[in-house]
Subunit: 298 residues, 2 copies
Amino acid sequence: MAGNTQAGASSTVIGFIGTGIMGASMAGHLRKNGYEVHVYNRTKARAEGLLQQGAVWHDQPKDVAKHADVVITMLGYPSDVEQIYFGADGLLNNARDGAYFLDMTTSSPALAKRISQEAASKGLHALDAPVSGGDVGAREAKLSIMVGGDTQAFEAVKPLLDIMGTNVVHQGSAGAGQYTKMCNQITIASNMIGVSEALAYAKAAGLDQTQVLKSISSGAAGSWSLSNLAPRMIAGDFAPGFYVKHFVKDIRIALDSAAEMGLELPGLKLAQSLYEQLIEHGGDNDGTQALYRIIAGE
Amino acid sequence: MAGNTQAGASSTVIGFIGTGIMGASMAGHLRKNGYEVHVYNRTKARAEGLLQQGAVWHDQPKDVAKHADVVITMLGYPSDVEQIYFGADGLLNNARDGAYFLDMTTSSPALAKRISQEAASKGLHALDAPVSGGDVGAREAKLSIMVGGDTQAFEAVKPLLDIMGTNVVHQGSAGAGQYTKMCNQITIASNMIGVSEALAYAKAAGLDQTQVLKSISSGAAGSWSLSNLAPRMIAGDFAPGFYVKHFVKDIRIALDSAAEMGLELPGLKLAQSLYEQLIEHGGDNDGTQALYRIIAGE
């Protein structure tokens, strides 16, 4: 990477593709730290805030790539990632010499490996670096960032990642970041079933659900979901912190990759079927805590 | 209840039946607070520590009941509870006038209601008051105690409960304590599947499982089990904090009571089938974290 990456003192040019709720916050932190930031987003309106902060707009992703030493992508689905990285107009075919690519989308480990190999064949560097922490973590620059790719590339971009997150961990070679993010989602999926079932049971038994949380939240049943999402389930607040449709995407990625490894994940499979029921009931754009509706039959 | 229940200043006589690992600690705290404590346990050797602290031994449960104003039971299975409370030699037929009974065993809500009704018909008071916090919580008097029964009886025995626990909550009428404990176990059951699956997936993907925990433990996937039991799974340490055989008992109670209420709990049902596989593989006396062995196929 050309020059140093110290905050506020760098000649490194950053490209940021995908300036949705999280991406806009993340790119904003880089901009505030003095980096020149070039952006592209499918819906230009969502980049306006960044442009007002001095980011440079391009009408096509490949033009971002042509201007940037480090290109960060924060997209929706693996198919978006595939489309934007590959092909004649893709990022990898329009990159600066020796450029770095960081895909921070939650995407498939197999695709991350493919991008890494293709990048290496062109003398480029690609890392997969999905995050957890949601829009609040992105806004407060407190993301957990899980990185896959080679060590030299990780060290080179780490100062940028430290601007966006507080828990930046190199998890291994290409794909390891995505695999780690899948571990995160696998853990959450079954726990959401448990939390939903406990509240549904409490209600059926005639208990005061909020009072039940007082007894169980701080002990061995305790979890982030029980503390943060159970109260929303009780209140009937199904507004999205994290969208059901995105969670179902992640579950599919995890199940596909597990199948490739010959691993059965019965809990995750159950979560998939329950969340698909939720989608059939129109829950695509609810938050993941809406699983309670399916379990409680509401 | 005769006299006051202030620590160290009470004429209230306590009976404690079931002085296993947890029961012995709990009875010990009452004794250290100045209460006269009468004890019975199936295996007398396990009461020796208490007898050295001045507790009074009886060869039969009914003799404990004859001496005590408040009788606490901390047993293994609902069948033990049923046997010790009912019948000619049972606690309820040998109680002091107006005595209080606290069943702190994790047992069935239906049985708790039955005990409560039978007690009331004799002018006695019964509460169900199961706990969470395990042997450490019992030793350190930091249990969470979930209480079902009428308010007057709860208020009368609360000073005793406050000696054994730090989180004493009245959850409702008879059975509500047991229902609440079931909510605790339901939440844990599915989360154990998620934690086990995440670690099995991490291993299959070639990740360093401990490094994965650094990325995921403090965010939305975080839980008591992930922080406390996942490291033991990784280390292959399946020593019991909480026995598989006891957890399977609790799962059965929860599923039976859910069925009585017409509620389906697919996550808990899956947990039951996985834990039963673990028992078929000889895991009865392992800790609940041994579920990892089944998921990872180890």
